[in-house]
């Protein structure tokens, strides 16, 4: 007996559907990359909170530079490192809107360190999402401020040498010490359970804006198969074995 696909595609059989806020544009991210999952979760959270017409996203420079192509909200594309300042300008002038920034490690923790720390210190009432994969993806795999000791990148081909390059920076722990932040948490998106936890964290971070609590900061420890030169499966394993011990998951601050 043959099964007709039309008999299966029925409303009562629906178990999952793409967020209405995700566009039909094919994402440019590499297969296995964490960005696509996080982009989707953000779209879902905005949809579920019903805040589409009150949300303004600030896109970064790096792999997620074209993120504004994927989520159906108003977007502002910032210069490298400046998303927290751009977000500050938007939020101060439109205090009733929901503002979020989305940055990678080079953007948030190297060139934009001052903007990150001062936005968090002022307690800008917005969500800052921090994708940390320990490498510059878009420019082709150079060393990031969060590259682990000994980890290879194109500008440290023999591994990060802390004598020369300094130690990897735990930005999330730094911003947790600032009174302006209300919610600081670190997650991953490599398993179904991790994705569910991350979505909960993003939901809470966006919802905090309603209560004017200060800056919500969500780090997502991520992979970069292309930059790390591993398969997606190998990357996830490598992340668990190497990234998680230095960047432990969980809430650092929740007030």
């Amino acid at each position: 007996m043959s099964i007709d696909i039309k008999d299966i595609i029925k409303p009562e059989n629906l178990v999952y559907q793409k967020s209405r806020l995700l566009t039909d544009r094919v994402m440019h991210y590499c297969p296995g990359c964490t960005h696509g999952v996080v982009n989707r979760l953000i779209a879902e959270v905005i949809e579920e909170l019903g805040i589409q017409q009150d949300t303004i996203g600030v896109a970064p420079v790096g792999c997620s530079v074209l993120m504004y192509n994927y989520i159906e909200v108003d977007w502002h594309e910032a210069a490298h490192g400046r998303a927290p300042a751009v977000g500050t300008g938007i939020k101060r002038l439109l205090p009733n809107k929901y503002v979020f920034t989305y940055q990678g490690d080079g953007d948030l923790a190297a060139i934009g360190t001052a903007e990150t720390i001062h936005a968090c210190n002022r307690g800008e009432n917005m969500v800052m999402i921090f994708i940390n994969n320990g490498i510059y993806g878009m420019t082709g795999g150079q060393m990031a401020p969060t590259t682990l000791q000994g980890m290879k990148a194109s500008t440290c081909p023999f591994g990060r040498d802390v004598e020369r390059d300094g130690n990897p920076l735990r930005m999330t722990e730094i911003v947790a010490t600032l009174p302006g932040t209300c919610y600081v948490t670190r997650h991953a998106a490599h398993t179904a359970a991790a994705v569910r936890k991350l979505k909960k964290a993003l939901f809470k971070a966006f919802d905090n804006q309603k209560n004017n609590k200060g800056t919500s900061f969500v780090e997502v420890v991520s992979t970069c198969n292309s930059g790390w030169k591993m398969t997606p499966v190998q990357s996830n394993k490598w992340m668990e074995d190497n990234m998680f011990p230095f960047y432990p998951l969980g809430d650092i601050k929740d007030v």
Partner: protein, 360 residues
């Protein structure tokens, strides 16, 4: 009733910003313009008009806060002085590339480097020829009085929104610090959120179901599409050149010799023209008010009777290049100016015209 006050140029900028309905000011202290933010903080405009005033952690952050606010269709501005404006160049080119209106005030001090806190006009190239990367132009206004410091805030916003382009007020430490009487304009209310949605349909005000999402960006990875965008920018600059030139003439009708000077140097040159006329030398002064667009045609129109031109700037000679481009070699053009924060006297200008142009 007219409201006349005695105030510093920097204070006039602040007061005018509140009165013309500016939504946000983001800045970082630097001499000789710190009175602008100090005045704003003292005046507490957030209580009067709802205007936001915020001291940022750097000029880089200030201009990027302006970038964010400008994207929302708000009237936003920042002010600084030369070294700070150098730091802002990144944000300024993004604003130009994203075609956003905003006002940047540069109260120029002597450079290069940390330089000095005394007045100079050595940032002309930076303001008029680019400053940041890429093919872009700012609309540049050069006030030469405290009154113009006040008036040009509104004018700069009008032009910035008309062309969706950053506008710069290129002042200097002398105009910023000196006190003069100013006639203040009455308060104009800030635009409401509804007005902004109507007037600036491109702004990131939150996407309703009735329109496509708005995206403020300057990135375009398709070279051919980006070339088309660049041509569109150039067409806009051409339109600005055709429509927005502003200049002032002083004793130019019968002039044999012409001084070209802007800002504080134009004030000194006005006196120099009087001294020259007293000596029987028929001199005149052309004062560019807009530096971009430059009053090229206005200079050319005087070439029927003018025999030589001296460009007088507090710099090593920057605007003189635009004067020479306008004159196209038809008469002699030289530069005179003191450097590094030293201000020339009217007598020095008289002497320079005589030695470099008349006797030269």
């Amino acid at each position: 009733m007219r409201e006349i006050r005695l105030m510093k140029g920097n204070e006039a900028i602040a007061e005018a910003a509140i009165r013309c309905g500016v939504d946000g000011y983001f800045g970082y202290p630097i001499t000789p313009q710190s009175e602008i933010m100090e005045t704003l903080m003292l005046e507490k405009p957030w209580e009067k008009t709802g205007m936001v005033v915020l001291q940022a952690e750097s000029e880089i952050a200030s201009i990027n806060m302006v970038y964010g606010g400008a994207g929302c269709g708000k009237k936003v501005m920042t002010t600084s002085s030369s070294p700070g404006v150098s730091l802002m160049q990144e944000g300024i080119t993004y604003l130009a590339g994203a075609e956003l209106p905003c006002v940047v005030v540069n109260v120029v001090r002597g450079g290069p480097g940390l330089g000095t806190i005394q007045p100079a006009q050595s940032d002309y190239f930076q303001a008029v020829k680019g400053g940041g990367h890429g093919d872009y132009k700012l609309i540049v206004l050069a006030p030469s009085s405290v009154q113009e410091m006040a008036d040009f805030v509104e004018l700069a916003f009008d032009l910035a929104f008309k062309y969706r382009n950053p506008a710069m007020i290129l002042s200097d430490g002398m105009i910023g610090q000196m006190m003069e009487k100013v006639e203040m304009k009455p308060f104009t209310p800030r635009w409401t959120d509804e007005e902004i949605v109507q007037m600036h349909p491109w702004a990131t005000t939150g996407k309703p179901s009735s329109r496509e999402r708005n995206i403020i960006t300057s990135v375009e990875l398709d070279a051919n599409a980006f070339e088309r965008f660049n041509h569109k920018l150039q067409a806009k600059y051409k339109q600005i050149e055709e429509n927005e030139v502003r200049s002032e003439m002083f004793e130019c009708e019968d002039a044999d010799y012409l001084l070209v000077a802007y800002g504080s140097s134009a004030r000194i040159c006005q006196k120099a023209v009087q001294l020259l006329r007293a000596k029987g030398i028929k001199a005149g002064l052309l004062r560019p008010i807009t530096l971009f667009p430059f009053p090229t045609k206005e200079i050319q129109a005087l070439l029927g009777h003018v025999k030589g031109i001296l460009s007088v700037e507090l710099s090593a000679g920057q605007m003189v290049e635009d004067v020479r481009l306008a004159v196209e070699g038809k008469v002699k053009v030289e530069h005179f100016g003191r450097l590094g924060g030293v201000v020339h006297s009217p007598e020095e200008v008289v002497e320079a015209l005589q030695s470099k142009i008349i006797g030269g």
